[in-house]
């Protein structure tokens, strides 16, 4: 009960502090808002990139074309050689007959052309379709397979996959760096706001000390003021995230550019992000005011 009363009083004081220096508070709140928007964007981006990378990893296949006049023993030998390559996840032999059949089923045009081919005329080759564990090393796997005797050609989405991933990687890094910079600037601004509040309440503080307020008694209202600034700064980014991401998701029907790049479902994704944003706002606010209090409220 007693603790609740003290906390209630502290919140009241803290709110007064926020409004006493409203222009400064507004500057701090805006700064947190901007920081959190960048945080939100980078979280949304990186989670989607992660999601997308996983999808790509599941999908990307190395197709190894084999010489058509290999014996079954030789094909088995190649299979063994592929199976021992590092980073190979799954592999599957698909014969030229299977492929021909698939292609003929998939389109009438193909069927009309291909049904008349004899086995010798058929240019389609037997293949091994290989999936890798780690997509970033797909290039090495492809090279190793190419060196196997009897493999004529190796194909996968060369370059494109790696490039996409490295671009996302750069975006991710830029986001992280700007968040760190913004967090520092924000903490500094909040620290200043709280410093001004402390100065405007020097008289009250000195009286509090005289009548036996402990350090905690004196400091907590200011820490809470920082917390409130942080929480207020999180409002716009949270609303923006919830509405913005939902709108984006539905606008693009849950995918970007192609069915290949799927966006993450908005629920519960946006609520998780909202919690993270609120948490970061509060932490940055408290950290800023803690710094001011440490510096300016010593006895």
């Amino acid at each position: 009960m007693k603790t609740f009363r003290i906390i209630g009083r502290n919140f009241r004081d803290a709110f007064k502090g926020v409004f006493r220096n409203f222009s400064l508070s507004l500057a701090s709140i805006s700064c947190i808002t901007i920081t959190l928007i960048v945080v939100a964007v980078s979280i949304i981006l990186s989670y989607n990139v992660d999601n997308f990378t996983n999808l790509v990893e599941k999908d990307v296949t190395i197709v190894s074309f084999l010489d058509n006049d290999l014996s079954d023993e030789k094909i088995d030998e190649i299979k063994d050689q592929i199976s021992v390559i590092n980073n190979v996840d799954k592999y599957e032999f698909i014969s030229k007959t299977d492929i021909t059949k698939d292609m003929m089923e998939s389109s009438d045009v193909f069927e009309s052309i291909m049904k008349n081919w004899s086995d010798e005329e058929n240019p389609i080759q037997n293949t091994f379709q290989v999936k890798v564990k780690n997509i970033e090393d797909i290039d090495n796997v492809a090279k190793e397979i190419k060196q196997i005797d009897g493999v004529t050609l190796v194909k996968y989405g060369e370059g494109m996959v790696e490039q996409l991933i490295s671009v996302f990687d750069i975006v991710h890094k830029v986001c992280v760096i700007s968040v760190i910079a913004l967090v520092l600037v924000t903490a500094f601004l909040i620290s200043n706001t709280i410093k001004i509040t402390i100065n405007s309440r020097q008289r009250e503080i000195s009286i509090m000390r005289l009548i036996g307020a402990s350090n905690l008694n004196i400091r907590i209202p200011f820490i809470i003021e920082g917390l409130i600034l942080g929480a207020l700064g999180a409002i716009i980014p949270i609303i923006g995230t919830i509405y913005g991401y939902n709108a984006l998701y539905h606008n693009f029907n849950g995918q970007l550019f192609s069915p290949f790049i799927k966006l993450i479902q908005p629920t519960p994704f946006v609520y998780t992000i909202s919690l993270i944003l609120l948490g970061i706002g509060i932490l940055v606010g408290m950290f800023g005011s803690w710094r001011a209090v440490r510096k300016h409220l010593k006895i």
Partner: protein, 227 residues
């Protein structure tokens, strides 16, 4: 029973000024003690050390069983809660009412509202300001403001009330009214130490008088012996 004991206390400020030296003193519970002496003799320094606003360089200061000189900064509040302090300049919050100024001393400790109300009203009654409960400090006379300050200092029920020239800004009549309030508080059991330059007040009340000179006790008159 002894409330305060000072043993060989010495205080030299960073500027090199020695404000208190070779000071030995004992004050019992329930006493009313005046501290007098010329300007700069160390009166304020002495009482500041009692509520640990200043630390002695050497010697020992015991207040209510606590070695105040050894108290770490973070623990100072513990002794402050047992001591009320009143100053010449009142130190009230200008934007708060009389009631709020006094209630403030209870609120920060989380005392329930009902209890705050009854305690504040009681103590304002004691200092004779019950009718000004909603006034702001700038609507009060100096004497009235000082009573608010006294009310705030004693609302927690401290064992010791320290006053540094509480009547310094007040005319003789108002001063005597404040003294009546302080005597009343003393009668209720609170030990009072008061620094003053007013010989009239000292003579009128006829309490124990300690005369300081250059940071030392020059004379210590027992109750009723100062003429």
């Amino acid at each position: 029973m002894e409330l305060i004991r000072l043993t060989n206390v010495k205080k030299t400020y960073k500027t090199g000024v020695t404000a208190i030296q070779d000071l030995n003193l004992s004050i019992n519970k329930g006493e009313f003690v005046f501290i007098i002496g010329s300007t700069g003799c160390g009166k304020s320094t002495l009482i500041k050390m009692l509520y640990r606003e200043e630390k002695p360089n050497s010697g020992q200061i015991i207040v209510g069983g606590v070695d105040v000189g050894k108290l770490r900064n973070g623990k100072v509040y513990k002794i402050r809660r047992k001591i009320g302090v009143v100053f010449q300049d009142f130190k009230l919050l200008p934007k708060s009412t009389v009631y709020e100024n006094v209630a403030f001393a209870l609120e920060i400790f989380g005392v329930p509202k009902a209890e705050i109300h009854s305690k504040v009203v009681k103590v304002l009654d004691l200092v004779g300001l019950k009718h000004k409960i909603k006034s702001y400090p700038n609507e009060l006379s100096g004497g009235e403001q000082q009573r608010v300050a006294i009310a705030r200092a004693i609302v927690n029920g401290p064992k010791l009330l320290i006053c540094d020239e509480p009547t310094g800004n007040l005319d003789p009549n108002t001063s005597m009214e404040i003294m009546k309030v302080l005597e009343e508080i003393n009668k209720l059991g609170t030990t009072i130490i008061m620094v003053t330059h007013s010989i009239d007040i000292v003579k009128e009340l006829n309490k124990r008088v300690i005369v300081l000179d250059s940071g030392r006790v020059l004379k210590d008159y027992a109750e009723g012996t100062y003429r």
